[in-house]
Symmetry: C2
């Protein structure tokens, strides 16, 4: 069986809004084991909607429609649904009660258009929306299903997760798939694939599916079983193999950020962190601060963008800067030790690099980054060579620095 | 006339890649005055591609197809194009030369699949790709046009901008539209609309179109003229009215970032900047560093996440912290002055706030942020009340702080 996705809205067609809904729905369907036929974006004209419904139901057993259900413009989609399925609108008393409660809870006044949101097609199954006022609608025709849900992303996601997906899996007797994701940092997709070739072959021989999901600095591995949750333990065992073999790269599971992982390690050990950042200009500490509760471990940091600040604030020797330069092992080591001393923290991360686009030399090209981590009994330094794009270099440096710290905390070579 | 967009690729259907290409193409077409019929995403099966070509050319005068042209998988799209347009592949000598130069310049070896990229349909006009190896193809059939271009975003954008759009505007005799954008910070969409109501009415009476493009912390105003570039001066005059009336909100034009604007001001005045950040944890200095050449003005900064660092490193009095708390006018003023003194800079930005989700009180709720800017002859402080979302609060604080500094530099009340 396969599904079609229809997204309604001029703002999508003219690119004012990027169609993240279609991507998210495609991902969820595909993760549930349902193939996707087509994904179509249309304007909210009646004939266009009718045509698109016919074409999609002709092609696919399940059609998911989002958009065109807001209080100001729901008439056309709902009326068109009525016309297509040969039914009419009726006031659904229980939906009205739910909408009234929704407004009462928020102390807001209901507008006439909100009352109309309780009028829904007679022949559909209403899918309750507990995070908004536009209900979902589930229609059946000749054994095929068309579902209409609102386009507001968090309402769409709630209805998909709680109503549409479970109902669709049951209706079409699709056995949901089971997934887990392993997070890696510091190794490219192709190098990783080379390292884990044998493991990967065993995965396939065992009937599991593997996907590499790369993004700058992080590659996720997703294992999928068609047998569903009964394979949970088997997948867990496969991932544990990689966790044990490559603890330097593997930092967590299922979408966790490396800053969260490191923050949690520091929290558990009741240890503290400071930063001394040159090229990233505060981006590393900001990444830790992006998570709630960073004050449990983060004391503070220095943005030592100029050499003067490196000397006066962090205590880097001017002789070190003169002899080895700002982007060098010697300088980042002094930066890390200076930050650790200044902030009296267990750990201090220091980075210095040439982010680009200018400032590179033959000996020290754009993309060269030195990172040091001072720890309770010493200091380690690592050298990285990233690419030529400034933004990407800063992002990669931030992630790599967090991983150096993680490895130092866990004593991973 | 209208255009259809077809994006080919399983990674788009299953949501592994968000379809930013369709959004960007829709935006460019719409900005050029070409309406969009449908946007369809399909897998790269031959029959599916053929069907979709027919349907789209049936509906729209112009069809833009992206994807399916990489060196590893271009066969199917190119072969399918040949079948659809009744032509065959031939080796294009000039394209081969261009591909060979492309590889020579990068010192990389050509693979057999790269040679095949010089084989293109006989009947098409080849659109030269100077940033990659897959050429664009322009087909004509019964006065309608189908264009096939690669899906790699920067290759797609280069071909769209340099080849497809100019050719399409000429072919269909569409007069390109003219746009300019005005950037505002620190005022919400509806408040802004209220303030500029009269101006907006004059805009409409004058036959221009206005769009509000809101994002967290920044609202862009886009003015569009159907008469094309001849209206450039008129639009400029309208924008100058707003620049003069609301210099506190309006910070630039056409997509410029506020950090770039402030950086440029500092560069011109040869003045320097430092930061003392609490809640943003380094995010403000990192935002300045994201642009090349930040070392021209940024000396350094302190991430004063703990009170201890505020006292020891920035010289905030413990009495101030005890009496007024870390999130107060008094504390941020001492932070800004302390940073200015420490780093010997002309300006210092300091922020302290409650980013959430926890830590709010009735008196100081989540979202409260104080920002101070020390300048050569004093210090100013501003209070902000943002929302409940931590990530959004940090983003809003970073933008607002840059705007406070901009206003201080330009002496705008």
């Amino acid at each position: 069986m396969q599904a079609d996705i229809i997204t309604i809205g001029d703002e999508l067609l003219i690119g004012q809004t990027i169609n993240t809904n279609a991507a998210w729905i495609g991902q969820q369907l595909s993760l549930s084991g349902i193939a996707i036929g087509r994904s179509t974006t249309i304007s909210d004209g009646k004939q266009e909607i009718l045509d698109c419904f016919s074409e999609a139901l002709n092609r696919s057993e399940l059609v998911i429609v989002t958009g065109g259900l807001g209080p100001t413009k729901d008439d056309i989609t709902k009326q068109t649904l009525c016309e297509y399925f040969g039914t009419e609108l009726e006031l659904k008393q229980d939906v009205l009660v739910r909408i009234e409660e929704f407004f009462a809870k928020r102390g807001k006044e209901m507008l006439p258009s909100n009352y109309q949101q309780a009028e829904l097609p007679k022949s559909c199954i209403v899918l309750d929306n507990f995070v908004g006022t536009a209900s979902g609608m589930w229609f059946e025709k000749d054994g095929r299903i068309l579902v209409s849900i609102p386009g507001v992303p968090y309402e769409m996601k709630a209805l998909m997760t709680e109503e549409v997906l479970p109902r669709a899996l049951a209706y079409f007797s699709v056995k949901g798939m089971y997934h887990q994701t392993l997070m890696t940092q510091g190794i490219g997709e192709s190098f990783l694939a080379q390292k884990i070739e044998d493991w990967e072959n065993r995965i396939y021989a065992d009937g599991l599916a593997l996907a590499y999901l790369p993004s700058p600095g992080v590659v996720k591995l997703r294992l999928t079983s068609k047998k569903g949750v009964e394979d949970a333990e088997r997948i867990d065992r496969y991932f544990r193999e990689l966790e044990e073999a490559y603890p330097n790269y593997v930092y967590g599971r299922n979408g966790v950020s490396i800053f969260e992982v490191v923050g949690q390690l520091l929290r558990e050990k009741r240890q503290t962190l400071s930063t001394v950042e040159s090229c990233t200009g505060g981006g590393i500490s900001a990444a830790f601060v992006a998570q709630p509760g960073a004050s449990d471990f983060l004391q503070g940091g220095i943005v030592s963008y100029s050499n003067e600040v490196k000397e006066l604030e962090v205590g880097v020797y001017s002789a070190t800067l003169a002899q080895f330069g700002a982007v060098s092992e010697q300088t980042v080591v002094e930066m890390a030790l200076g930050g650790q001393r200044k902030f009296k923290t267990d750990y201090c991360i220091a980075v210095s690099g040439i982010a680009g686009p200018d400032g590179g030399t033959e000996e020290k090209p754009v993309g060269l980054v030195w990172c040091a981590v001072a720890h309770p009994i010493g200091v380690v330094a690592k050298k990285f060579q990233f690419g030529t794009d400034r933004g990407r270099n800063l992002e990669m440096t931030t992630l790599a620095a967090a991983n150096v710290l993680r490895r130092v905390i866990l004593s991973i070579e």
